[in-house]
Amino acid sequence: MKGARAMSIKIALAGNPNCGKTTLFNALTGSNQFVGNWPGVTVEKKEGKLKGHKDVTIVDLPGIYSLSPYTLEEVVARNYLLEEKPDAILNIVDGTNIERNLYLSTQLMELGIPVIMAVNMLDVLEKTGDELHIKQLSQKLGCEVIGISALKGLGIKEVAEKAVGLAKSKKIGSFKHEFDLRVENVLKAIEKKIEGEIPLKERRFFAIKLLERDEKIAAQMKKVPDLSEEIKKLEEDMEDDTESIITNERYSYISSIIGSCYKKKGQGKLTVSDKLDKVLTNRYLALPIFALIMFLVYYVSVTTVGTWATDWANEGVFGEGWSLFGLTVPGIPVLVEAGLSAIGCAAWLQGLILDGIVGGVGAVLGFVPQMLILFLFLAFLEACGYMARVAFIMDRLFRKFGLSGKSFIPMLIGSGCGVPGIMASRTIESDRDRKMTIMTTTFVPCGAKLPIIALIAGALFDGAWWVAPSAYFVGIMAIICSGIILKKTQMFAGDPAPFVMELPSYHMPTVENLLRSMWERGWSFIKKAGTIILVSSIVIWFMSYFGFVDGQFRMLEDMELGNSVLALLGSSISWLFIPLGWGDWQSAVAAITGLVAKENVVGTFGILYGFAEVAEDGSEIWGTLASSMSGLAGYSFLVFNLLCAPCFAAIGAIKREMNNTKWFWFAIGYQTVFAYLVSLCVYQWGMLLTQGTFTIGTLAALLITFLFIYLLVKPYKEGSYLERKKTMELK
């Protein structure tokens, strides 16, 4: 009809975690989505327009193993498929692990939605020498099957065109799977009972789910038929519960398909991934290897390569200048100062731009090289498949104090940014474990805290090799100790949740993907510096360069900053931090501004300690800071900022995920008090051991340490009660 708009089409991407779904999504839509190798990266669905087809939307569903209702991802994916009814499902399957992947496929084909299958990682399959007969697979399954390699871009166009064609035709495949005759008879009876409410094409799926006693599906129906007799008879007949019956039937069907379509070369031999895992996930070596790897990551990013690059940025680009092919390029402060003077700009405005904006933003941007190198390493560890193992490795340790490795996944994500880390806690089914994970996720240093780590390591410890890695391990220890202590309280007590995860094969990531991932995170950091930190720097500059002198409110000279509005505010709370070794107003203010964005801590120091002033005598760019704070006080300051309440964005995420005001304030209070006590202990013990001083602060540190040790080692009364109860029940 003339003028009629083309109907828009929705195609859902469904598949197991780590099957290459997001890589395919990127290839189909052109968006740059982050590719991770562990469950929980995609908690909510993502959408994008198919390249070349403005009317076609691709929806990337969470990676799931089945359409059962046990995890949030499964429920989210299933609800989308049932309620929003996409025009087609593009089921992506890992060709190197096809047997496990087909379980979901058999369920997708029961939904009454047209399905096309894309068998991914064909390039990897070819290398292993295994054979997969695509045409035969298609015949057996009753749907179109296309072989692709999402990473190499092979078959993408073909699968996209076929998916669009299928969606437009709305042709549902000739589904082949039939269960045992006894099961089929029961299913037919159930379908008859629900025919009034459920449309024909969905009836089989609903019948199977009702037979499996799926409560979430039953909750979606207006009238749930009574199936107790049918279920009881079938269970007696087949001597198993209905859910297991259906599961076994599916796997029998899958085995029959695999038998005729897939030929594995070198059955029984260990793959390269298996051989690597024998070492990297070894019972005794795994944790030390993980510690060594993270040590190296932080050592190289912050202390060696990162420092060279950051020194160039801080002392060259944001300092006196740097050499480019023998020519001296003046640094930004020099250029800006010269430009502003030449144009006749007023002194106060020059001060705002140089000391405020260049000082604040420049101080943060100076650490971009270190951040980029760290992001590159983290991207490599994620993309190659190692990070997926870390959750598995940590599970053994976490289980000792009642958490599971699934709680470590948000913490791994939180090493980039705390916000998605906190969001990823949604994958944890246990409410108390989820709350504990939310509370402790931000203990792991996020990208925004890296400038603080780098600043303290560089300015106060002369780039000592141990400072940056120790910051990471302080976070890990804080998580472990918090877990042990909290699990002994009634609020968080209970058995650890079961943790099952698939370990994807190791593979060498492409340079393109690594650089893209590094740049995406780096760019967001730079953009943040140019927006929120720039605005914060201006506010901080005004508050630090304006104040009351002799009853008069005016702009202050450099030596009068102690009279500023900021100093006044800072001084009102700085006394709280005296026991921590940094009771000056500058440090107190810097810690507070860190609530807006953690990078602001560095930005604030940059403004207050004259980062933009290029010293004529050639002293180090952070020399003023180094002269006003001892190394021990600096480390205490670092520990406090690493562990205390995170930035407002992460606080907001905690509030949303806790969904309870009391729990929210408990979380923030716990983090801040924990940070305060640990920093106090670090400083006071340090003073005792290095200077031999013993003050009331030292006594407080002693008491806190003893309390801490007691909380860690005390037996859990309810735990032993539950143990006795279990023993009595067994008798």
């Binding site: 982050f34 929980g40 405005l349 967001s524």
Partner: protein
């Protein structure tokens, strides 16, 4: 004159930054994360 020019440029720059932060906030985006929504697994509800 120089002060006026530099001041005006600065005001326009800061004004546009604040405007974009407010626009992001109204769209449900976080103003603090640097707009790396794709890495964020649904923190923001971009329309």
């Amino acid at each position: 004159m120089g002060t006026f020019i530099v001041g005006s440029i600065l005001l326009i720059l800061v004004g546009s930054i604040i405007k974009s932060l407010i626009k992001d906030k109204k769209q449900g985006k976080s103003i603090q994360c640097g707009d790396a929504c794709k890495n964020c697994s649904g923190h923001c509800h971009v329309k």
